[in-house]
């Protein structure tokens, strides 16, 4: 069991980083301050949690939490087959936290996805542009205040008529 030891280490090294540690259905969840995410992730990586399985985000608008957004890291240790969830909270007015791309390359695309869908930006990311939606898309669809049906993006295309399009040929 790697986890208990590392959690104590996190407490010792970065006493102000951890907000809470909880458990649900046998999973350990560590809640930390967004700005400390690199330090904590690095500590985990160097202590056996070598695989970043997934990064995602949650908009806590109606759920409640320490801040409006939480960026969630799922780590896995190939040695001991343990998993841990780290939630880094970021405030609404300044949704920004350091990028984990320097630790794991897989963070590149996933952080772009979070940037696209949630509007959280990552400091130090090499190429932070939209990945899923078109470049000229407005808004961040997975935020809770974005309507499911969108804002008419899907109806906004030219209609092509049958037959030879004379205007296009000119």
């Amino acid at each position: 069991m790697l986890l208990p030891k590392i959690i104590t280490k996190v407490h010792d090294k970065f006493p102000s980083a951890t907000l809470d540690t909880t458990q649900f259905a046998g999973e350990d969840i560590i809640h930390i301050q967004g700005s400390y995410n690199l330090d904590v992730l690095k500590l985990f990586r160097d202590n056996g949690f070598n695989f970043l399985a997934d990064i995602t985000a949650i908009d806590n608008l109606t759920l409640g939490g320490f801040e409006r957004f939480a960026v969630v890291y799922h780590l896995l240790s190939h040695e001991t087959a343990e998993r841990v969830t780290i939630k880094a909270y970021v405030p609404e007015d300044q949704p920004e936290l350091p990028s984990a791309e320097s630790l794991w390359k897989t963070a590149d695309w996933q952080e772009r996805e979070i940037y696209d869908l949630f509007g959280i930006s990552f400091k130090g990311h090499p190429n932070l542009i939209r990945i899923m939606n078109p470049d000229d898309f407005q808004g961040h669809p997975l935020r809770k205040d974005y309507p499911r049906l969108g804002r008419k993006e899907r109806d906004d295309f030219p209609v092509v008529k049958r037959g030879i399009n004379k205007e296009a040929a000119q």
Partner: protein, 400 residues
């Protein structure tokens, strides 16, 4: 001598747009390649052409409704998605499903794995010009489709699991039909291997192409056959068994070179192992129900009861109505499963309501594809289809 023939030709860097509508991009991938002659200097993939808002939709559909959406994610092996999602929801709700359910799920997952790998190998072969392997493979895939149709009622979008069990039990004599197909798998696998393994062109076009080192595989978050072809001994079915995989006896296929050829070999071997698991599942198939106890309030009553008794009807409404239905406790769960492509995980956050607060899929395709720019660098343009084919990117899962 022609003037200047001894000097290298002046080549200009050319930017080539590959896709999104190109046969070897499997539909919706787009790559912007910078070429020098025929050598790719830089390949920048552009994804998102099939982004359909799966995760947004998950916040509006209840736990059982979303199962239909998971089918459409990895459409080469929809049953694996169904199972992964159901497992996550069950973990969230603290449900224990019956042993028979778990065995049937294992059987179905392994059949899907065969169907997935065979199509992937076939497509890779088509992209490299060997149409026969595809036709052989697809015939087998049709047979597996038939099995799914017998059990679930449809070929592709199966929606076979429910939270807490299965939509229905497998029919009588299903095992006979399965065994017939399983026997055939070995034959088809052998046919394909005879066609390809020692084929000079196949070897030239796959060996030492797109090599992934062990460190890169971990850094880029690769999983499944892609990671195993690079020598990482990690199979979730073995290391973190779910759905009673620990009761089955099978080997994990591993290769060491990490090139396209090795990924192909790993997939072929995994198919054989899946056949082994299927046979064991059929042999040891326990008796019992395929749905949790109805008194727990998670399962729909049998249709007979709904149509013929007032209690059944009321109960049906209780579960499906807007303001009723199953409500998990406040919390979150992440479950990782070994899908044919790698680690397929679902992450569900619940606020205690009847619809999830957030549903996230960990798509193996996204991670597996993200290493592509690194792989294509320095290769010939014609190697791009081989590399894409061997990563087995499924756009539905990649873009969600």
């Amino acid at each position: 001598m022609v003037q200047g023939a001894d000097q290298p030709m002046d080549t200009e860097r050319m930017v080539l747009n590959f896709g999104p509508q190109h046969p070897s991009t499997h539909g919706t991938l787009r790559i912007i390649m910078e070429l020098e002659g025929e050598t790719v200097i830089k390949g920048t993939p552009e994804i998102g052409y099939l982004h359909s808002g799966f995760e947004k939709l998950g916040e509006y559909l209840d736990y059982n409704q979303y199962i239909t959406i998971t089918d459409r994610m990895n459409y080469l092996s929809p049953l694996c998605n169904n199972v992964a999602y159901a497992l996550t929801a069950e973990k969230l709700m603290g449900l224990e499903v019956s042993k028979r359910t778990e065995y049937i799920r294992v059987l179905m997952c392994e059949l899907s794995r065969i169907a997935d790998h065979i199509l992937n190998v076939g497509m890779l072969a088509v992209d490299l010009g060997a149409l026969t392997a595809f036709l052989y493979g697809f015939r087998l895939r049709e047979d597996i489709y038939d099995l799914f149709e017998i059990a679930t009622g449809t070929r592709l979008t199966t929606s076979y699991t429910l939270v807490g069990g299965l939509m229905r039990d497998i029919p009588d004599k299903f095992d006979e039909a399965v065994i017939k197909v399983l026997d055939n798998v070995d034959v088809v696998a052998r046919d394909i291997e005879t066609l390809l393994n020692k084929n000079r062109i196949w070897q030239d076009r796959t060996k030492d192409i797109g090599i992934i080192s062990k460190e890169d595989a971990i850094s880029y978050g690769l999983s499944g056959p892609m990671a195993r072809a690079s020598g990482i001994d990690w199979d979730i079915r073995v290391q973190e068994p779910y759905s009673r995989y620990e009761e089955f006896d099978f080997d994990v296929a591993i290769a060491l070179n990490g090139d396209v050829f090795d990924r192909y070999l790993v997939r072929m071997e995994e198919m054989r192992q899946s056949v082994k698991i299927c046979r064991q599942a059929l042999d040891k198939m326990p008796a019992g129900d395929v749905m949790v106890d109805p008194d727990l309030g998670f399962s729909l009553p049998p249709k007979d009861e709904v149509y013929n008794s007032i209690e059944g009807l009321i109960y049906h409404f209780e579960i499906t109505m807007r303001n009723r239905g199953m409500t998990p406790p406040i919390g979150e769960a992440y479950v990782a499963t070994e899908s044919p492509n790698g680690e397929l995980g679902f992450y569900i956050v619940s606020d205690g309501g009847r619809v999830p607060y957030r549903v996230r899929t960990r798509p193996p395709s996204l991670m597996n594809y993200s290493i592509f720019p690194k792989l294509i660098e320095g290769h010939m343009l014609s190697d791009a289809p081989a590399i894409i084919g061997s990563t087995n990117v499924i756009a539905g899962e990649l873009d969600r």
